[in-house]
């Protein structure tokens, strides 16, 4: 018998085309925050397991009768003297069940112990090493899968004789693959995280990484596996005893009690029921305990709705709306009035939001993460997630009544027909198992079209959104992100809806693709005379797409008006701040004087290529790249996803090897011998894109920031070498990045995205590197925070005399911080030079395209 949790369900490998550099609007802090409170499963499971354990312990010193002594009358029914009756030899059943718990626990404990002690190290090793050893280890474990514990026990019993020891060993060996798999997949996940890359970059050895990052982070899942496997062992032991291959008589065992009861069925049914219930209670207890532990450890399951990050947004901003001059639209296409959305617990996510979209009008809905923009759209379409309730009014032209009062069936009739929606994430918005043509056609057949017409129209629509011939026969994974978003758009417009709601439709796309997509969307919406509700965090995009704009802050509309009006004369303080933060002016001073240029560059990359194998195909990530970064320079690399900018960064940081070409970084020739690599690690530190994945969730902020100091090689002469000196250095650094000193004792999940990025910067700078490498450091942050973090980076670069290497998809970000820029495309640098020159007088066609595609805030 196998429990759900242990069967190796083959998960499909992650879609290799998911762009790792995809930018998305953060939807509040990720749910690493654990929900306080008690899990009922955990409690019930612990109680049942506790009952079995206590019974076993008590039975060691006391049982009502000697469980092996046959003294009483035979086959007695439960009664006053023998609570659960007696068996065929006149032994007390209650005493036997008590004593049987001992064998059950012993077998479970030893079997799980063997499996964990062998399986976990194997899995961790396979996960950390990868390569041939990893594959070999996992193959071995796969072969073991063909020998379930029960079969192994029978076989070993045949050779060495059955008994308790054989059963324990066989069940233990049989469970090794389950533990190896769990440990390996957990390890792989940890090893892929940015915090392990950060630890590597901070010169931490494999053993330190295993001890400090891998083991603490997989401990939870391993514990769950122990509990679940215990349940399996209990069942298997009972099965073996039932077959006569378990613990030999006269030692009491639940499985054998059941087996012996068979011949007295109808005469003494309690003989079967009592041990049966005992087995079920033990198994249930361990299973529930496992499930409960899983809930505690699985961060995904403790997600409870969006939750605004604290401490980042200017709290002085009042949410009093200004500029409620609504245009006199006679009959709006979409009319939302006093929309309030609350969670079951009564927290308001939206408070009396009112907005109108006229026929053919394009309205922007602006706000930062957690402001409730998406919630507004979902409420209008009746797609709110479980656990939130909407009140108020949503009206749609030509549709009588309040949409919020319609049932699911009546609403479904409108969705895709009169009111449709385009979502943020094109990679997951389409059904992966169906061809896209069919998915587009379905929108029409659902609303009455014949399948023939719909198929023909689907092909036309796909052509209309600019997809090549034959796209209808493609599966979603065969299309790029931009193409998929076009499919979603074709679907949304198939039935010529009165209103299209687009939720961050281009946020996950590259700049040039975004531009095409926006143009297409505006054109198609205009052609159809449809109203557009455009939801975004990006003010520049709104200024290009929309006619009117509504600003949302913490679920409240704070300002609305025409784009020209609001952007030129913002009246609400929050709008003003948002506009100010959205405008990144170019950097004016250059940090490198001309005489420095004769010096040896700090980073030199010569004709570097990088080719790797993916699914048997060679992928050329870099195709001959050369650049030089001078000491003290702020060097920016700009490019879209797949341009190779992150690969280049990893090579310069010594985290990846070039296939050919020469790299010198901080005086170290790469690839370098381990001790030389240590010199580079001490001189070069990294800041990553995702502030949620780059900090180990199980370490305190103090430990995170101090980690680079733990390797003495990283500490400069006179630097902190004692625990107290390290503490001081951490405090000093946290102060420098603008975090409170009590942050040291707190955990990452207690901080907002911007604060976490500050923590990451503190960790990078604590051992005073010469070079700071930042990979998309602000693309996961809200607009108002983005600017703060960029300015902090710039200030620290000056104060610490850092050489900055910054990678971004956003030309504006690079121009705001850097004095020198290289533009990358398809693994090549197409142009490089001083930032102003590249921006104002681009020499390469692509640079021009990139610049022109970058949305600019028109005020």
């Amino acid at each position: 018998m196998t429990d759900p949790a242990t069967v190796a369900v083959g998960q499909p490998p992650p879609d290799p085309r998911t762009p790792t550099g995809a930018r998305r609007q953060p939807a509040g802090p990720r749910p690493e925050a654990r929900r306080p409170g008690v899990h009922p499963q955990l409690v019930i499971g612990a109680v049942l397991v506790g009952l079995v354990v206590v019974t076993a312990l008590v039975s060691l010193v006391w049982t009502p009768f000697d469980p092996e002594h046959a003294g009483a009358e035979r086959l007695l029914s439960p009664g006053a003297e023998h609570w659960l009756g007696t068996d065929r030899f006149g032994r007390d059943v209650f005493s036997q069940v008590m004593a049987g718990a001992r064998i059950t626990l012993l077998v479970g404990l030893v079997a799980v112990g063997i499996a964990a002690v062998v399986g976990v190290p194997l899995g961790v090793l396979a996960g950390m090493r990868g390569g041939r050893l990893g594959v070999l280890l996992m193959r071995g474990s796969d072969i073991l899968l063909a020998f379930p514990g029960l079969l192994l026990a029978i076989v070993l019993g045949a050779v060495y004789g059955a008994g308790t020891v054989t059963a324990m060993v066989a069940l233990g060996i049989g469970s090794i693959p389950a533990f190896a798999r769990v440990a390996r997949s957990g390890t792989l996940q940890v090893m892929r995280s940015d915090y392990v890359v950060a630890a590597r970059a901070a010169n931490r050895g494999e053993r330190a990484i295993a001890a400090r990052h891998v083991l603490p982070n997989i401990a939870g899942t391993v514990l769950v596996q122990c509990s679940v496997n215990f349940a399996i062992a209990v069942l298997a032991e009972a099965g073996l005893s039932f077959l006569g291959l378990g613990t030999p008589p006269p030692t009491p065992s639940w499985g054998r009690m059941l087996q012996e009861s068979q011949q007295f069925l109808g005469v003494a049914d309690h003989l079967a029921i009592v041990p049966g219930v005992a087995i079920a209670v033990a198994v249930l207890g361990f299973n529930l305990l496992g499930d409960g532990l899983r809930d505690v450890f699985d961060p995904r399951l403790s997600a409870v709705g969006p939750h605004a990050p604290a401490g980042e947004r200017p709290s002085s901003v009042s949410a009093e709306p200004v500029g409620t001059t609504r245009p006199s639209v006679e009959t709006p296409a979409l009319d939302i009035r006093d929309l309030t959305v609350r969670t079951d617990s009564g927290r308001a996510l939206l408070s009396e939001v009112s907005l109108r979209v006229g026929p053919g009008e394009r309205v922007g809905l602006i706000g930062e993460s957690g402001s409730g923009k998406t919630m507004t759209a979902l409420a209008a379409l009746g797609l709110l997630p479980d656990g939130v309730v909407a009140t108020g009014q949503v009206g749609l032209a030509g549709v009588p009544g309040n949409l919020l009062e319609r049932g699911e069936r009546a609403l479904a009739g409108l969705r895709g027909e009169a009111l449709s929606m385009v979502f943020q994430e094109p990679m997951t918005a389409l059904n992966p198992l169906l061809r896209v043509g069919r998915q587009v056609a379905e929108t029409m057949t659902l609303h009455g079209a014949t399948s023939r017409t719909a198929t023909r129209r689907a092909a036309e629509l796909l052509a209309e959104v600019g997809l090549p011939d034959g796209a209808a026969r493609r599966y979603p994974h065969e299309l790029s992100g931009g193409q998929r978003q076009r499919v979603v758009l074709a679907m949304a417009l198939a039935n010529d809806p009165a209103v299209l709601v687009a939720d961050e439709p281009t946020t996950a796309l590259d700049v040039t693709v975004q531009r095409q997509m926006l143009d297409l969307m505006v054109r198609l919406v205009e052609d159809r005379g449809a109203g557009l509700l455009f939801i975004t965090h990006d003010l520049a995009v709104v200024s290009q797409v929309c006619q009117r704009v509504v600003v949302l802050l913490d679920g409240v509309v704070v300002e609305e008006g025409t784009v020209a009006q609001v952007f030129a004369h913002p009246r609400h303080e929050y709008t003003r701040r948002l506009l100010a933060a959205s405008t990144l002016e170019p950097r004016t001073t250059s940090s490198v004087r001309s005489e420095d240029r004769v010096a040896e560059p700090l980073i030199r990359v010569e004709d570097v290529t990088r080719t790797y194998q993916s699914r048997g195909q060679a992928v050329h990530a870099l195709g001959g790249v050369s650049l030089e970064v001078q000491e003290g320079q702020r060097f920016g690399i700009v490019g879209e996803s797949g341009s190779g900018k992150s690969t280049l960064l990893r090579i310069v940081a010594g985290l990846d090897r070039a296939t050919s070409g020469r790299v010198t970084s901080a005086g170290v020739h790469l690839p370098a011998a381990p001790h030389e690599l240590g010199d580079l690690r001490a001189a070069l530190q990294l800041v990553f894109q995702d502030p949620y994945g780059s900090l180990d969730p199980r370490m305190t902020v103090g430990d995170i920031v101090a980690e680079p100091l733990l390797n003495p090689a990283n500490v400069r002469v006179g630097g902190p070498r004692t625990a107290s000196a390290r503490r001081d250095a951490v405090r000093e650094m946290l102060d420098a990045v603008g975090l409170p000193l009590d942050a040291t004792e707190r955990y990452p999940h207690q901080f907002s995205g911007g604060q976490r990025q500050r923590i990451a910067i503190a960790r990078a700078l604590v051992c005073r590197p010469r070079i700071l490498v930042a990979d998309e450091p602000v693309s996961a942050l809200d607009v108002s925070v983005r600017r703060q973090v960029l300015d902090l980076l710039a200030r620290l670069a000056d104060e610490h005399a850092l050489t900055l290497l910054l990678v971004s998809h956003d030309l504006g970000v690079v121009r705001h911080v850097c004095d020198h820029v290289a533009v990358m495309r398809d693994g090549l640098i197409v142009e490089q030079g001083p930032a102003d020159q590249v921006y104002d007088h681009p020499q390469h066609e692509y640079t021009r395209t990139l610049r022109d595609a970058t949305p600019v805030l028109r005020r």
């Binding site: 759900p4 077959l243 069925l265 079920a280 479980d386 069936r409 659902l446």
Partner: protein, 315 residues
């Protein structure tokens, strides 16, 4: 696709080679010379040599292994050391019995688990879903032989509706076959139903969170419609895997149920052979079981590739 298949087949062959070698070492090499085991340590060298020649254990171990594996490939499992019976027809007969039992049990399990698991997921926030989930959780904890014993107590001993055990092959009488197969199949299937219900529930819950389900609703499908038309097929991918793995585990788990109902299946044969210390029979039965399990895993991998276009190699 062809390349994918080739690498899978290569893995399959390697797995089978290593697994059969392990069985051979475990049952043929470690217990010592089967001639001594059969005739006793007092036996004369001549008698031992004669026995070895008769049973083909006089070559080197490698040669014996190759001969045995060759036999497995050609369907010749050899002759029992103890009963001198031809093993192939015996095992083939028993495989059929166990196969029928397991497939019927799985059918019962799926008929129950797919709708119940789906409902448990859809209703996961209300009492109905919690109840279904709780019942399945308890069901997982019940050993199938307990269910078997209780079924016998009720339907055979008390009500006398069905026989308490034994087996009638379908060709010998279809009515009697059903009367005999029903209780063991239900005993085997009911616990599987609980297990698979939990998988279905978690697969559907997972699917319910997917963006594409929201897209489907935005197109005009109701929640239920979206779940049926887009969700279940996606949830089906992991469920197929589970069904494969569970059938493999039922092949072994049937041993116990066969004991309860005195069904002459592969498991009973295995236990009898263990009891008789008929090591060649044990070796061959275990090999057949392991080959079946490995083949099932292989088929599951292939099914996976067929169901999910992302795993098919793009041309």
């Amino acid at each position: 696709m062809a390349r994918h298949l080739a690498s899978h087949v290569a893995q399959l062959v390697a797995t089978l080679l290593v697994a059969t070698a392990a069985i051979f070492v475990l049952l043929r090499v470690l217990p010592g010379d089967p001639a001594v085991v059969a005739l006793g340590i007092e036996a004369s060298p001549e008698a031992l040599a004669a026995w070895r020649a008769e049973h083909g254990t006089d070559g080197t171990l490698v040669a014996q292994y190759l001969e045995w594996v060759g036999g497995l490939l050609t369907g010749d499992l050899g002759t029992s050391y103890v009963t001198s019976q031809e093993l192939t027809p015996l095992v083939a007969d028993r495989v059929q019995v166990t196969g029928i039992l397991v497939l019927l049990g799985m059918l019962i399990a799926l008929v129950v688990a797919v709708p119940v698991g789906t409902l448990a997921a859809v209703w996961h926030r209300n009492a109905g879903g919690v109840t279904l989930s709780t019942v399945s959780q308890v069901g997982v904890a019940v050993p199938n032989f307990l269910v078997g014993v209780l079924l016998v107590a009720l339907f055979a001993v008390r009500l006398g509706w069905l026989p308490s055990g034994g087996w009638v092959a379908p060709v010998e009488g279809f009515g009697e076959f059903w009367r005999h197969v029903l209780l063991p199949a239900v005993a085997l299937g009911s616990v599987q139903a609980a297990i698979i219900t939990r998988y279905v529930r978690s697969a559907v819950l997972e699917i319910m969170r997917e963006d594409f389900l929201r897209t489907a609703r935005a197109k005009g499908l109701t929640f239920t419609g979206a779940l049926v038309r887009h969700g279940l097929r996606n949830a089906g991918v992991p469920i197929v895997t589970v069904v494969g793995v569970q059938i493999a585990s039922m092949l072994i788990g049937a041993v116990v149920i066969e004991r309860v109902f005195a069904v002459p299946g592969l498991g009973s044969l295995l236990l009898d052979s263990v009891g008789n210390r008929d090591l060649l029979a044990v070796q061959s039965i275990v090999a057949v079981l392991v080959v079946l399990v490995v083949l099932l895993n292989f088929l599951v991998d292939l099914a996976y590739t067929l169901l999910d276009p992302r795993l098919r190699r793009a041309s």
